[in-house]
Symmetry: C2
Subunit: 255 residues, 2 copies
């Protein structure tokens, strides 16, 4: 399934004891619909307040409803801030998380005098002047294979901290800045630390050398603060035979 959600009201994708998770809400609807205890496997977790333009998830069921009908049946019962945009039956061997080849995130910054009543849930408002050229130049430095050890939340343990970034770019639509990044994987809080660091660069509080030097050390404290969750979206997920690009590029800004 391809899922879109406004994460403002949720504790994130994954079930948590301290509040409602997106996964949980959809699993509950799936269980009502199928009469089975259904587990939903997402392409990855998202933090509290992070959104999805296209999250991918799979589940197993014995129910013989055609795969493409599930989205319609689920949307009837789901809250309006979660929509299933697409569903299909897939190879039983497919796994939404383990089979990911490339993933893209997007981050919106509203660089204006006053915040917007319409965009405040889904963008990070900064009223100081941002040097977009400096941020664009910094964004390019992330491309390629690097050790992103310094760009992960302290305490998160993984086997390897080396990741490859295929594209990293800012774009601008009036006062709305948009950062798009595609990689073969991301560490915990990695995109938000990358954005936080580029914002410090855009504010001329440091220069882009903090990024290149960070590839050689593991010191999280020498980078910018973690940018707020509310500007971040899971934007696109690519598998060998499935790509969510069409659900993001629908000819209008999705939020």
């Amino acid at each position: 399934m391809v899922i879109q959600y406004d994460g403002t009201e949720y504790v994130g994708w994954q079930r948590q004891p301290n509040g409602l998770a997106v996964q949980e809400v959809i699993e509950n609807e799936l269980s009502k619909l199928t009469g089975e205890h259904v587990t939903l496997y997402g392409s990855g977790r998202t933090d509290s307040g992070v959104h999805a333009l296209s999250q991918v998830a799979h589940f197993d069921t014995e129910v013989r409803m055609p795969g493409e009908k599930f989205c319609y049946a689920l949307n009837v019962g789901l809250p309006r801030d979660i929509r299933i945009l697409y569903s299909e039956e897939t190879d039983p061997a497919f796994h939404a998380r383990f089979d990911v080849q490339k993933k893209s995130y997007r981050y919106y910054v509203l660089n204006s005098t006053h915040d917007s009543p319409f965009l405040h849930r889904c963008s990070n408002h900064i009223h100081y002047h941002l040097d977009i050229d400096a941020m664009q130049s910094a964004a390019k430095l992330f491309c390629g294979e690097h050790d992103f050890n310094a760009f992960k939340a302290s305490g998160s343990a993984v086997d390897s901290t080396v990741r490859t970034i295929f594209a990293s770019e800012w774009s601008k639509e009036g006062e709305l800045l948009c950062y798009d990044v595609t990689g073969n994987g991301f560490l915990y809080n990695m995109v938000r630390i990358m954005v936080g660091t580029m914002l410090e660069i855009g504010l001329h509080r440091c220069d882009e050398s903090v990024i290149t030097s960070a590839f050689g050390h593991c010191d999280r404290t020498r980078l910018g603060v973690t940018a707020p969750a509310k500007g971040l979206f899971v934007a696109r997920v690519q598998y060998s035979d499935f790509d969510t690009a069409d659900f993001v590029n629908r000819g209008y800004r999705c939020f």
Copy 2:
């Protein structure tokens, strides 16, 4: 002042006994700020759930704070779904409602298979196919001076029901349809009845002759249903020496 608001959580612009109004929220902040009992006069009322890209309002105060500072001071205390985008001291003779020369409304329709978690508060979702060409042709019929008696909510009393429409046009950005209309004034529910009627035409449930024939009768029941409030925005207000266009056309879709 130029005010932007997401009307979802409010009973409308004007104070009501049954819930919180936008006017009331801003008046309360103004009273806190000035220590005076302040009345805020808007360019016009909006219904429950209707939004504003730029509403104009004025008030009188004895406080000697520079006019351009009020927006910053007020935004500190206001909820995030209401923002004052601009404020200035004006001629004491200026009246936000009586001096309006032209007013523009905007209506968003999301014409897609599934609704959007991000746009559902500010657009009317229709999953049936809409014939945009038929709607565009119908929109043109509203231009000029007409008796809009049939296009007002029943029970609303006004001196004259003749209004002049200067521009009336649909545009399309992927699956998002946008209707912009400018006139010298609008009757109660007029834009929502116009949109509701054009949507019936777009669904091929009636043809555009219902519009031209409606200019000759007063029968509200022969037109389409009133379109939902949540797709409607006060978009632009024009006075002889002040125009809010810059607050709407900021180089990005404001919602």
